[in-house]
């Protein structure tokens, strides 16, 4: 890896780049899935390549190739230089980067059981057992189980003299029970929807999740949803389960704090943000009990946003985003930090692969825990709805008006979880919603969820992000509007 990287970096510098960085990435993936008693996907892939990012004439250029011959690498560098010169034809000012120091280091994320060492036949055996448990329940018409393993070996070099090698293993696992009956399709997922749980760890995640032990309950719930009552329309207190709150954080806090969005870089596609620069340090984003951090450090846990250095060679950091309800920080890059006069990037630049530029991405944007268990919070609620597991999510291009649906809900009456509700939905305005939060459960209910499918950028990049959350209560929330006519 280093041989290709050094060749590219030297060539970029000799061709006039005032700044250059090179990422060489070797990515391996194994994806397994079963469906209704049969294997559905059994595939493996590997991808090795190199991306070169340069500043020439005060503007960015980037090129990437998987032709790692000398000719291929040098051609890629020349392409990046040519592109930067073209960028300079339409610029208002020269690119400036916040200072960063030279770093030479190597980091490997903890991984107790290498998932690629677990026999595929054992994985499939487990998946088919889960599948069989799901289909034991009458009216489960479709059972789907998946395991997803990724190994990412990356070398970063820059003309600051940095040389950083990082190796990460990421694992995802989950299942879905779908039930079609009458004129309705209902689904229940475990431990989360859209692929399950994802973390930066090995096969130990699969063991911790106890997929088999949870299959009967989830299947029963999927089938039971048909017969239960529809989520009412109106205004009530809502308690969000931990995984749903994780996605709420992702959409209504994580995205709006991306400084590139704030400054307009995503205006044509992902959108901008209501968090204009005047709001930093002034906006009462949330209730006093709400504290949110963007923490990429390994100390935060094995999130999909955990690393030692970002893809600009900036060390992982823990940035307070909301402190006692006050908006205190953005996610930044070296370029955007300089743009708003900050002395240093807080290290949020990440690229999907060797063929993409790094963009500002969420790291682990997490809600810090409060106190107590979920059952205590339900007992403390007179009238409301507990909602669990995301089914749909939508938010406007400034991240202000949102609407979510969940797979299941339960009515709460006089401190007790009562009837099951189907098709729950809730919505609101971001700051009004977060200011209505009046209780957050404690560390014993806190989970660091992985969102593996966050899309941003053109060309589109899919990135994994982490979101720690414990269940929390929000007062007087609009519910049921998704089905309201």
């Amino acid at each position: 890896m280093k041989e290709y990287g050094v060749l590219a970096l030297d060539a970029a510098t000799s061709q006039g780049a005032v700044y250059a960085d090179v990422r060489v990435m070797d990515i391996r993936q194994r994806y397994l899935s079963t469906k209704n008693g049969e294997t559905a996907q059994v595939r493996e892939s590997e991808s090795l390549g190199l991306g070169v990012r340069v500043i020439v004439n005060g503007a960015w250029g980037f090129a990437a190739t998987d032709d790692l011959s000398r000719q291929g690498v040098l051609g890629c560098v020349l392409k990046a230089i040519e592109i930067a010169k073209a960028s300079a034809l339409v610029k208002k000012k020269d690119i400036r980067l916040a200072p960063e120091r030279k770093i030479v280091d190597q980091w490997e994320a903890p991984c107790r059981i290498d998932p690629f060492s677990v026999p595929v036949s054992s994985c499939i055996d487990l998946m088919l057992k889960v599948d069989a448990e799901l289909r034991k329940v009458k009216n489960v018409t479709l059972a789907e189980v998946s395991l997803d393993f990724n190994h990412i070996d990356q070398l970063f070099l820059s003309n600051l003299g940095s040389e950083i090698r990082q190796i990460k293993t990421q694992t995802g696992a989950g299942f879905v029970a779908t039930s079609f009956a009458g004129n309705e399709i209902q689904r229940r997922s475990y431990p989360n929807s859209f692929g399950g749980q994802y973390q930066t760890k090995g096969y130990e995640l699969v063991e911790e999740l106890d997929l088999l032990g949870n299959a009967p309950r989830i299947a029963e719930e999927a089938a039971a949803l048909h017969a239960c009552d529809q989520c009412p329309v109106g205004e009530t207190d809502v308690i969000l389960g931990s995984s749903q709150l994780g996605l709420q954080i992702h959409e209504s806090i994580g995205h709006p704090i991306e400084l590139d969005r704030v400054l307009g870089a995503e205006a044509n596609y992902a959108g901008m943000s209501f968090l204009t620069l005047d709001k930093l340090g002034h906006l009462k984003y949330a209730a006093d009990i709400v504290n949110v951090v963007a923490d990429a450090t390994p100390a935060h846990g094995p999130g999909l946003g955990t690393f030692a250095y970002d893809d600009e060679g900036v060390p992982a950091q823990n940035t307070p985003i909301i402190k006692d309800g006050l908006f205190t920080g953005y996610l930044t890059s070296r370029e955007t930090a300089a743009e708003i006069g900050q002395e240093r990037s807080n290290g949020c630049m990440r690229a999907e692969g060797w063929n993409r530029i790094p963009l500002i991405r969420m790291t682990n944007v997490s809600l810090l825990p409060g106190k107590g268990r979920l059952e205590d919070l339900i007992a403390d609620t007179d009238d409301g709805i507990y909602m669990e597991t995301n089914r749909s999510w939508s938010i406007d291009d400034r991240r202000y008006n949102f609407q979510f649906g969940t797979e299941i809900g339960w009515e709460i009456k006089h401190g007790k979880r009562t009837r099951m509700l189907k098709n729950p939905s809730y919505g609101g305005i971001t700051t009004e919603f977060w200011n209505s939060c009046d209780a957050i459960c404690g560390p014993e209910e806190w989970t660091l969820w992985g969102t593996p499918n966050c899309g941003k950028g053109q060309p589109m990049q899919t990135m994994g992000t982490g979101h720690g959350a414990s269940p929390a209560r929000f007062r007087k929330v609009r519910v049921g509007m998704a089905y309201s006519k």
Partner: protein, 445 residues
Amino acid sequence: MMLTRERAKDIFRKVLKYSTADETEAFITSASHSLTRFANNSIHQNVAEEGMSLSVRAVVEQRTARASTNKLDESSIRQVCEAALALARLQPPNPELLRMPGPQMYRAVDRFHSESAELSPQARAETVRAAVERAEKDGLTAAGVYSNGVSVTALFNSRGLEAFHEETSAEFSITMMKDGSSGWAKKTSPSCVELEPEVLADRAARKALESQQPKDIEPGKYAVVLEPAAVLDLLGFLFFDFGGLSVYERRSCLTDRIGQKLFGENINVRDDVYHPLQAGPPFDGEGIPRQRVNLVERGVVKNLVYARATARKMGKKPTGHGFPLPNEYGEAPMNIVMDGGKSSIDDMVRSTSRGLLVTRLWYIREVDPYQKILTGMTRDGTFWIEDGEVRHGVKNLRFNQSVIEMLNQVEMMGPPQRTAGEESFEMVVPAMKVKDFNFSSSTTY
């Protein structure tokens, strides 16, 4: 270096040399793609990539698996063949697994345009500069992309099937912004000559200017004139339900509805990869030739599309819409063409006493998979219509609307056109006027 037919054949010869599977398939692809991105009236991201990959599917004793690599040296080709075979052996046999198809005949489609393949970073920058100048003329801020690329797909199998397709792509999209208002326009084509960036820039600029100081509007049901991009992004959520396997597995909104008049009399939809405004190869993921399929005729759900395995399960004939095997999804129509009408957007506006003109929609998600209720937001140019005229911009609105119900309430349609959005793959669809479109809340800009 892009993949040529001869290079692909050479790689497949090596695959056959190393594969000891009962049957072997190789998907060989190469792509080069460049994209110039601008925001705040400057180019801020500007990228190019090239890559090639080999994906091998092995079949052994009624088991199949796939392994892929982008390392194409002799040793890596041998390893990927071994990996596919090893993965296949580690799973239970599937008695329903079909033999690979033999040689097929394909209808030629010409979707390679050298002007798109050769478009330089300098040429893209000059086009962007002209768009920025258009923005600055009216004090607007522009953001967008201009991209071009070449993709090559070669598919071979050990039963003698050989398919090869190369095509180019180009895209220009632009958002113009001013004081709380914005406008947007986008076009894609295999040929960059077709894009007309200056027309798109002007359209986006006019929308931004005409929607300045947008007004509040009460949520509710309104007649809407949906421009083609808005139509596209809604319909995109419907068409995966036309895959045979999704109906067989009862996860489609068409389950128990085939043959029913589900939509209005004026709705006619087909899948047609050979349509002159369409793109993509004339074969599917197994190399079966794509067929034209009438999906909806006069509102009646007439046909689904079928991969080979699904066709066998359901007693139908394959239509050439399968995804590469193995996969969970089966198949889907990817080249939708919807019939339209003769009305212009101006005609639709003139016929509306009170309603909304919608440029595009955003962050659309499925709320209910069987009623096909979708939620999402309007974006970049939403206007109030009164007494047959566009009066002013309005602040963005959230909708919760069943697409099935919507397609029963289409009152007017324009001529179908190749359309690109951000939520769906490209289709050939018309603008349409729909009555009683359900908006459930509004936002503050």
